[in-house]
């Protein structure tokens, strides 16, 4: 069971017009694994993550989720597969026109056809889990960044996904709020959630990641355990990059 391949990427490439953003990406994420993706700005980390749930359509290559190649399914099938992957964005992207509770209830009701009562029960339980039960009826704009991001995680979890994708979930936050969000993610990892996280939080990567992937120039240049990646990077570009982020702390 632990060895089940949840995501498999083969020869993935992505062009925006003339620019090759992803050139030849290969990789496998197994059930329960936590993968951290690091790399310089513009390396294509976000693009890679967005290709995993087809928010961005790959130019060529395969993206297999649970054995199905997402690049060759109907849009109806794609919706079915997407609901099994949660995504959390750098800028939270909560729906500002709904209360926190409604943000969590919308997809379960509309996509999973859950009853209103059941959706509300799950939503409240999830908000409790991220420590924001008392904010159920608040609008997103009245929450702090850290609270908004915790709500966004709860919203993705409300669909009961098999994989969670995080794109720099803490980089838009004030430093004092980073901890509360990482804590929620850490718990999630401890519960065995399969996660792909684009992040530069070394502490987080060291404590929960099974593997760290270093991306640059449209390739994954190195994959190592967190300790190896941060202490003894082999690739020159990775050395350079890690030196910079350690230097900046």
């Amino acid at each position: 069971m632990q060895d089940k391949k949840v995501i498999e990427v083969n020869h993935l490439s992505k062009k925006f017009g003339e620019t090759d953003v992803l050139k030849d990406i290969n990789g496998t994420v197994k059930s329960g694994q936590v993968i951290c993706v690091i790399g310089p700005s513009g390396a294509g980390k976000s693009t890679f993550l967005r290709c995993l749930n087809l928010l961005e359509k790959p130019t060529s290559g395969e993206v297999k989720f649970d054995g199905t190649d997402l690049t060759h399914v109907s849009s109806k099938q794609l919706l079915d597969l997407r609901e099994r992957m949660g995504m959390v964005f750098q800028s939270f992207n909560l729906f500002p026109n709904m209360t926190v509770l409604k943000n969590l209830m919308l997809a379960p009701i509309r996509v999973k056809h859950m009853s209103e009562a059941e959706a509300e029960k799950t939503a409240i339980a999830l908000l409790d889990r991220v420590g924001l039960k008392e904010k159920a009826n608040a609008y997103p704009s009245s929450l702090s960044g850290g609270q908004q991001q915790r709500v966004a995680i709860a919203r993705a979890l409300a669909m009961n996904p098999e994989v969670m994708l995080f794109d720099e979930p803490t980089s838009a936050l004030d430093p004092e709020m980073v901890g509360e969000v990482l804590e929620v993610m850490q718990e999630l990892a401890n519960e065995g959630m399969t996660m792909v996280v684009v992040t530069h939080e070394m502490g987080f990567a060291k404590s929960v990641a099974d593997e760290v992937w270093f991306m640059a120039d449209g390739y994954i240049l190195e994959r190592s355990s967190p300790d190896d990646m941060f202490e003894h990077p082999k690739n020159d570009r990775a050395k350079d990059f890690i030196g910079k982020i350690i230097g900046s702390v």
Binding site: L55, L79, R82, E83, M87, R110, V111, A152
Partner: protein, 489 residues
């Protein structure tokens, strides 16, 4: 880009072709003459007139109730009675009367219409039931300057657009400048404020004005005219021989018994009723009705305009190229043509295929027009919603439809609420154009009051204040809700 441009051109050509077919249908509709038979079968004679022309036809305010009276109305009554059918009166701009019968909106038009040769090309006429003669109205202070029509050489002369007086002044008064306006009330006002030197007008109407306004005087036109150019006749759609023959029997009786004298006397009495009390309060029911219709049209049109606007805006985001092309062509076409033409097209043009009452036609035209503008506003609103929102919705597995309905449109509407409010407010003002097809909105009622009271300016002022109250109150209400919506966000 080039391809979609081509698609737009194609769509516009298709629309034009449809319009041409509709127009052709209009001009060829009458094959066999069933005009009399149709009226008899229906049991109703539908007569259209422009009731702002005393003593021919005008509105009278009797015990707070408004009613159409005048010599022509009595003539129409007699005709209907002789045909043993009910009389149904419709009102419209004078300019639109002949179009109304050509497009089958009415069986007959009456309104001091002179059966000139030009007009005979496009409609049939009854025999002449009344010969009034032409005259000029001038300001009393000018009586010495303009002793007779000969002195009008080089003067500025006003006349109702589309009337015989207009053409005559142009042709027969040397070196004159002729100014045309829609309403005789406006022309009288122009005369009194010295914008024109004289006003070419039918003699009975001129007499009515002189009786009610000491600052005006009448001089004879001095035109040597053929009977067709001075007489008034009823107009019918071409090929209505059977109906015309039947109506001519009534005209014969009217002539023989000199009934028009009696009718004119009665009209004179009504005109006195009107001028007994020309205070605007006395006419408040007129204005109230005008406000009611103006608000009704604006409200209904805003509602359907928004519905249509949403549909058109969503079409612009469709995957199908032809759907996008259709929405673009529609928007471009509507925005490229005046609302007035659209109103007339819906009422007279579409009316050939299905008969739609004036009020509904007005609402349809204004809604169709507003939809095109609202579509652009909504499209802007949709584009203003951050892409992160649609990505979040997509990542949750929401369908495009759910995403639009629950996430994008609510936010778009909040962003465009002020723009939509402005659209609604401008509709209150722009919808006044429907008065040309006889919808009793505020502008229409304003003209009735002006015709009835012989007071040119005060009713305009009242209407202006009423429009302002409506738009101002609305702005306040909209601001209130805008504030509330901000609060919720």
């Amino acid at each position: 880009m080039k391809k979609s441009f081509k698609a737009i051109i194609q769509a516009i050509i298709v629309i034009m072709a449809l319009l041409t077919v509709a127009a052709w249908h209009t001009s060829n509709a009458a094959a066999a003459d069933t005009s009399l038979q149709r009226v008899k079968q229906r049991g109703e004679l539908i007569v259209v007139t422009s009731p702002d022309y005393p003593p021919y036809e005008f509105m009278v305010n009797e015990n707070g109730k408004s009613k159409m009276v005048g010599m022509d109305i009595d003539v129409a009554k007699k005709v209907a009675k002789d045909l043993h059918v009910k009389l149904v009166m419709k009102s419209m701009n004078f300019d639109s009367l002949l179009v109304a019968i050509q497009t089958g909106k009415a069986d007959m038009a009456i309104g001091g219409i002179n059966p000139t040769n030009e007009r005979r090309q496009s409609v049939d006429f009854s025999k002449i039931y009344y010969s009034g003669g032409q005259s000029f109205l001038i300001n009393s202070k000018d009586v010495n300057k303009y002793k007779s029509a000969k002195n009008l050489k080089g003067a500025t002369i006003g006349a109702q657009t589309g009337t015989l007086q207009y053409g005559l002044a142009k042709k027969r008064i040397p070196n004159s400048t002729v100014k045309g306006m829609d309403k005789s009330t406006d022309l009288v006002l122009a005369l009194k404020t010295n914008k024109i030197d004289a006003l070419g007008i039918e003699k009975p109407t001129a007499e009515a004005y002189v009786k009610n306004d000491p600052t005006l005087k009448m001089i004879s036109s001095g035109y040597n005219l053929n009977k067709n150019d001075v007489g008034a006749a009823m107009a019918f759609k071409k090929g209505s021989g059977s109906l015309v023959n039947a109506v001519n029997k009534s005209v014969d009786q009217i002539q023989k018994k000199h009934l028009t004298d009696k009718y004119l006397a009665a009209a004179g009495k009504y005109m006195k009723v009107n001028t007994v009390n020309t205070s605007m309060f006395h006419y408040w029911t007129y204005f109230a009705k005008g406000v009611e219709y103006t608000l009704l049209i604006s409200l209904v049109s805003t509602f359907f305009g928004v519905v249509l606007g949403v549909i058109l805006a969503l079409m612009r985001f469709s995957k199908q190229k032809w759907v996008r092309g259709l929405a673009i062509s529609y928007t471009e076409f509507i925005r490229g043509t005046p609302l007035m033409v659209q109103v007339m097209f819906v009422y007279f043009g579409i009316g050939v295929v299905i008969n739609i009452p004036a009020l509904i036609s007005g609402m349809i035209a204004v809604s169709l027009n507003s939809g095109a503008y609202v579509a652009e506003i909504i499209r802007g609103g949709i584009n203003s919603v951050a892409t992160g929102q649609t990505e979040a919705a997509e990542s949750l597995g929401l369908t495009k439809r759910d995403m639009m309905q629950y996430v994008v449109l609510p936010q778009a509407f909040r962003n465009i609420w002020p723009a939509l409010g402005n659209e609604f407010i401008s509709l209150i003002k722009e919808s006044s154009i429907v008065s040309i097809i006889g919808v009793t909105d505020l502008i229409y009622q304003l003209n009735i009051v002006r015709a009835d009271t012989y007071r040119g300016v005060i009713p305009i002022f009242v209407a202006m204040v009423l429009y302002f109250i409506m738009t101002f109150a609305l702005t306040r209400i909209l601001n209130h809700y805008e504030g509330k919506m901000k609060h919720a966000g």
